[in-house]
Amino acid sequence: MQVIRHHIAVKNISEVERWTSLIGGGLLAASAFRRNSKKHGLMLMAAGELLRRGLTGYCYLYGALGFRTAPRGQGAPTTSLPYELGIRAEAAVTVDQPRETVYRFWRSLEKLPLFMKHLESVIETDATHSRWTSNGPAGKKMVWDAEIHNEIEKELIAWRSLAGADVDNAGSVTFKDAPGGRGTEIRVLLQYNPPGGVAGAYFAKLFGEEPSQQIEADLGRLKQYLETGEIATTEGQPKGPTKRELREREIQQRRAAQTEFSSVPSVGGGMR
C-alpha cells in the first residue's frame, strides 16, 4: 500500500471556506491577545492553523480523510480521482495460460466477482460502461459506475469511475507474455480514495483488509480458476468445537440433566 503524498501547492478547500477560515483565525487571534488567560497559547495555535489553511487553501485533516471542499479537478488532470488523493496499490501474478485466454476472461467483466472476493457484481451496461457493486469494510455496500477509457486488445485495460461513485477509483491491468512460454504476466495498478481517506485505509489495514494484499489474493484466486478450473477452499469442511463451545455445551447438558432429574420424582409422584 502506498499513500500518495500531495504537493503543498494543491488546494483542497473552497474559496468560501478559505475566507471563513481566515476571518475565524483572525478573530480567534484577536480574542486570544485580549484575554491573556491560561488558554492563551492554545487559542493562538488554533488561530495560526486557521490562518494557515485560509492562506494556503490546504487542510491536512481533509487530506488525511480523503476529503475536499474545493471543486474537483483543480490542479489535476481531469480524471475521476484527483491525483493528490488516495491510495495506490499494485500486484502481479503469472498465470499458465495463453495471453488471449487471460485477457478475454478479464474483459468479460461480469466474471470478475468469481475471484474478486469483495465484489458482489459487475453489470456491463454497454461496450465500455459498467456498474460495480462491492462489499466494503464492515459489510457496507458500495456502488459505482465505471468506464473503460483505454484499451489495447490483449495488452491493456484501463478504467476509471464516473461522477457519483461511492469510492472514486481508477486503474489498469496489463497482460504480458511471461518468458520461456510460462504463460501470462498480469499486473494490476489501482488507485482509489477509500471511505475515510488515508486514515480509513490504515484502519482497514489493522483488520487485514489492506488493498494490495486484497488484490494479491484476488489474483491468486484468478490463477487457481484459470489453471485448475476451481478455487481452493476449506469453507464448509468439518472442524471440532472450540473450547468455549465445549464449555457452553457442557453447561447446557448439565442443565438438561438437572431438569430431567427434577422431573423424575414428579412423574413418580403422579404415578402414586
Partner: protein
C-alpha cells in the same frame, strides 16, 4: 464422524464433528482405514507451528477407500483403495508440471499469509495449520481430498495397509532426503535423527549406493533400530562431540553428505540447548538449529547438507562462514510426494523393503490423545504410531 482435534499445547481431543462434504468438483471423500501420527505432528502438539485454531483436525498420513467423488474426478472412482500424499497438488501449475509437487501454486487458500511470511507460498497440506491452507486432516473417520485425481495413488488389494501407508509421507521424505545427497560410490552419509524419516533415509541411502551410513540419535531403541533394520553404524549424542567423532570415523574427511532429519526441535543438550530454548522463549528465535549447526560443521568440503527436518521460522548462530568456506550444497523442502509414490510402491511390492518395520505402537483413533503423549515423550520405545479409526 470422530476426529482428532487440536486445542493447544499438548492438548488434543477426539471429538464428534460433521462428516466432510464435496466442496469443489475435483474433490473426493475417503473413508479412512489406517492413519498415523507423524513426527511433524509433534511440532503442532508442542505449539511450535503458528496459525493453528481450536478444533482443527490433525493428520496428514492416511489411506482408505473412496466413498464419493466430485463431478470432475475422472481417474478415481467409488470403492478405490487409495494412499493419499500429505501435500495437496493441483497438477496444472508450473511447479506441479515441473515435478515439484509440494510447491504447488494453487492449493493454498491462505497463500497470502505465507506470502507475507516467506515471500511466496507452497501448496496446501492436510492438517498442518492455516498457513498451509487449514485443510482438515486425516486422523479421522473420513477426509475430504481435493484434486483427488492428482495425488492419491490407487493400491490393489492383497497388500496390507501398514505396508503402503507410509508412501503418504515418511518413506518418500526419507528417500528424497537421501536422493538429495547425490550419492556417489564410496560415499559416507551421516543421518541425524533416527525417527521414522531418519530410518527411511538410512535405508534409502544404502539403496542409492552409499558405502556407509552413520546414524546419530540419543534414544537407545531408535539407535538399535538403525543398527538392526538399517545396518547403520550408530553414534549417540550423549557420548561426546559428534562432529569430532564423525571426523575420526571418516579418515578426517567428514561425511560426504549430512542429513538433518530432526529439524526445529533439536535436543542438543548442554549450554547450547539452554541458549536456544531461552531465545525461543523470548521469541528471538523460532527454531532450535542444533543439528543443522553440527551437520554443517561435520560435512566434508564440497559435500551436501540435506534437510528433510521441518523448520518454520528464524534460526540463529548458524555457521554460514563454514558452509561458504567448504563450498557446501544445501537441499531441502517439503517432499514432492507424488514423484516418489509409484517407484517406492514398486519396491514394496517386490519386497525390496517393508516400511512397516518402523511401527512400534498401534492404537484406536479414540486413544489418539494418549498416543500423542507417549510419542512426544519417546516413552516405551515409541518410534511410530498407527491409528485405526
Amino acid at each position: 464422524m470422530k476426529a482428532l482435534c487440536w486445542y493447544g499445547k499438548e492438548d488434543v481431543r477426539v471429538q464428534a464433528v460433521p462428516d466432510p462434504k464435496i466442496l469443489n468438483p475435483h474433490d473426493a471423500i475417503v473413508r479412512i482405514t489406517t492413519t498415523a501420527i507423524c513426527g511433524s505432528d509433534l511440532h503442532l502438539y508442542n505449539g511450535f507451528i503458528p496459525g493453528m485454531e481450536q478444533g482443527d483436525i490433525l493428520g496428514h498420513e492416511f489411506m482408505g477407500e473412496v466413498v464419493e467423488a466430485g463431478s470432475e474426478v475422472k481417474r478415481l472412482k467409488t470403492g478405490d483403495r487409495v494412499v493419499v500424499p500429505f501435500n495437496i497438488s493441483c497438477g496444472e501449475c508450473f511447479f506441479c508440471k515441473s515435478d515439484l509437487w509440494s510447491l504447488c501454486d494453487n492449493t493454498n487458500p491462505n497463500a497470502s499469509l505465507l506470502q507475507k511470511l516467506y515471500g511466496s507460498s507452497g501448496g496446501g497440506l492436510f492438517g498442518y495449520s492455516h498457513l498451509y491452507g487449514g485443510y482438515a486432516g486425516g486422523q479421522a473417520e473420513y477426509a475430504r481430498v481435493p484434486f483427488a485425481d492428482v495425488g492419491p495413488m490407487v493400491i490393489d488389494n492383497g497388500i496390507a495397509d501398514e505396508q503402503v501407508l507410509f508412501l503418504s509421507d515418511i518413506f518418500p521424505t526419507g528417500y528424497m532426503a537421501a536422493q538429495n545427497c547425490n550419492i556417489q560410490p564410496g560415499d559416507v552419509i551421516a543421518v541425524w535423527g533416527c525417527g521414522p524419516v531418519g530410518q527411511f533415509a538410512i535405508q534409502s541411502a544404502y539403496l542409492l549406493g552409499a558405502e556407509r551410513v552413520i546414524a546419530i540419535d540419543q534414544v537407545p531403541e531408535r539407535l538399535r533400530m538403525a543398527r538392526d533394520c538399517g545396518k547403520a553404524e550408530t553414534l549417540s549424542f550423549t557420548d561426546g562431540d559428534v562432529v569430532e567423532k564423525l571426523q575420526a570415523m571418516t579418515g578426517g574427511r567428514g561425511p560426504d553428505a549430512c542429513i538433518d532429519a530432526v529439524g526445529m526441535e533439536a535436543h542438543t543438550g548442554g549450554i547450547e540447548e539452554v541458549y536456544d530454548r531461552a531465545k525461543q522463549a523470548l521469541m528471538l528465535e523460532s527454531d532450535r538449529p542444533g543439528v543443522l549447526r553440527r551437520a554443517i560443521m561435520a560435512c566434508r568440503k564440497g559435500g551436501t547438507v540435506s534437510i528433510p527436518g521441518v523448520y518454520g521460522g528464524l534460526i540463529d548462530k548458524v555457521p554460514m562462514g563454514a558452509a561458504f568456506a567448504k563450498g557446501l550444497t544445501f537441499k531441502m523442502g517439503q517432499t514432492h510426494t507424488p514423484r516418489y509414490m509409484r517407484p517406492l510402491f514398486e519396491m514394496v511390492r517386490k519386497s525390496e523393503i517393508d516400511p512397516s518395520f518402523v511401527i512400534s505402537h498401534r492404537f484406536a483413533l479414540d486413544d489418539a490423545p494418549k498416543a500423542y503423549a507417549i510419542f512426544n515423550a519417546r516413552q516405551d520405545g515409541c518410534t511410530k504410531v498407527v491409528l485405526k479409526p
